[in-house]
Symmetry: C3
Subunit: 215 residues, 3 copies
């Protein structure tokens, strides 16, 4: 299950039944010699992926091809990171998160449970790039449980997107968003509640009905 | 022409005069043991690319670095897929298609002949991500012959973009587009006909004049 | 410092103290057999990166994972190119440039000193893709010193963004921008001067104060 062309550093603590495909690098050393990389049971790490030491990843991790995960990233159980996406380090991601292709998550971002992030999304973390004091205010976005972010959207630094929000494709989220709203545009504005959404195909009455139980 | 570090599974049926660069994986196995990967004559597969079994690719295929093509993709002759782009599976692409860098094409998308897709474009396939019935309505975009989609644009699920349409950079295509139009914005709206476009450099009278023959 | 799985062609002129990580390809041959690849001192080339012959890169080059740099690219000193980004060839980049993740820079682009380009940005170079004369007008953007371009923004072909401009996230830059302005939107419009920007965290009075010395 561990391809012979993969490079596994001694700091890796591998769960049971993990598949590691060719040309993968696991446990890439960091400045801290004590950093370990922990990967949970029943995980799959697809080819050409690099994961640094100092990360802790839960069970059933589903990792695409060419993924790059820098140091100090924590990922819960049953989560997936799509092909060619990068987690820049110092990030927490909950359980059952689906992060898709070509996504960039900046340092110091927090992502909850049951979150969906579509292809091409960027979570930024610097308001004024190249400001001489930029490192002092570095802060990524906070994406709460059940949030869904549409393709090619951008979330500005330090923004909080609250529970169950749906962000339409190509949006720029420049202000915090209250829970259970649908937002679109640049800057993203509330257009309706997620409970107002209907299925145009007649398959289900409301796509996000199940969240109503908890409100 | 086949680099010795590339991994070629026995299911690959390789055309004549194919170049396979280092760290490529061809014929990545799928759930179906009978799946083959067919690659046409005179093709080039650049380094770090992965193509799954179950794909059928025509002649003169020009494939970038770090491309990921999942199972059940059909690509015609003389087409190219740019560096770090992903075709997610169950996709058809015609002849002479130019798909550029960092593009994501979702499952169940259909792309015609002579199509141009610029860097950073995403074709999505789920209207309401995380809806419990999302798999039942999964449908990508239909991109007809001669369509050109500008950089960082997003096309919503199930959208049809008809022949020869030009989509401006950074657009979100949320409605079907009639043929021969230029659209821009979020949501993308018609701003003119492609026949109204003139060359600002004085090199050619009209950039898309040749399509008029067929209308 | 040179990993044994990396592929280094004989045309590479390597500076002192260069780290080359696994699965890298340096000096990828071009149509011109005389092309060399020059890499400056104290550089780091992270895993899975490909750099073609015909490039000249300065000292202290900081190169991410899975970067692709085509032929005839010149990069100054102390610059960095982020993970999975592509420089398409025939590009010049100055000193102290920070080009981030998943960026695409089209052929014939010019980038100055102290430039910041955020994740997902695309610099395009063809106004009318698939025009039969498209190769005759191919021209990328010109990004002057001190410019900062926000995440997922797109810059149209031949556009000039002058000194110190800040482009907000998700913008489409369709017209030249005068120096020292902040622009946002599609198409990007001037909303204020960079000297009007204040630090919302109270860490510094003005983030771009230092540029005022030179005006």
């Amino acid at each position: 299950m561990i391809d012979k062309t993969s490079i596994i550093y001694p700091n890796v603590i591998m769960g049971k039944n993990v598949e590691v495909q060719p040309y993968v690098i696991l446990g890439m050393p960091t400045a801290n010699d004590n950093d370990k990389l922990i990967i949970g049971d029943n995980s799959i790490i697809r080819s050409h992926t690099v994961i640094y030491a100092g990360c802790e990843i839960g069970n059933n991790f589903n990792c695409g091809h060419g993924v790059r995960i820098r140091e100090n990233v924590k990922i819960g159980n049953n989560s997936q990171i799509g092909t060619n996406s990068q987690l820049e380090g110092y990030i927490t991601i909950g359980n059952n998160a689906k992060i898709h292709t070509n996504v960039h998550i900046g340092q110091k971002s927090e992502i909850g449970n049951n979150v969906f992030i579509a292809p091409g999304v960027v979570l930024t973390n610097v308001l004024h790039p190249l400001c001489p004091e930029a490192k002092k205010c570095l802060k990524g976005a906070t994406i709460k449980d059940g949030v869904k972010i549409g393709a090619n959207s951008t979330v500005n630094p330090g923004i909080i997107i609250n529970e169950n929000v749906l962000v339409g494709s190509g949006s720029v989220v420049a202000h915090d968003i209250e829970k259970n709203n649908v937002v679109i545009g640049n800057p993203a504005k509330v257009v309706k509640s997620i409970y107002d959404l209907k299925c145009p195909f007649g398959i289900i009455e409301r796509p996000y009905f199940e969240y109503m139980e908890n409100d």
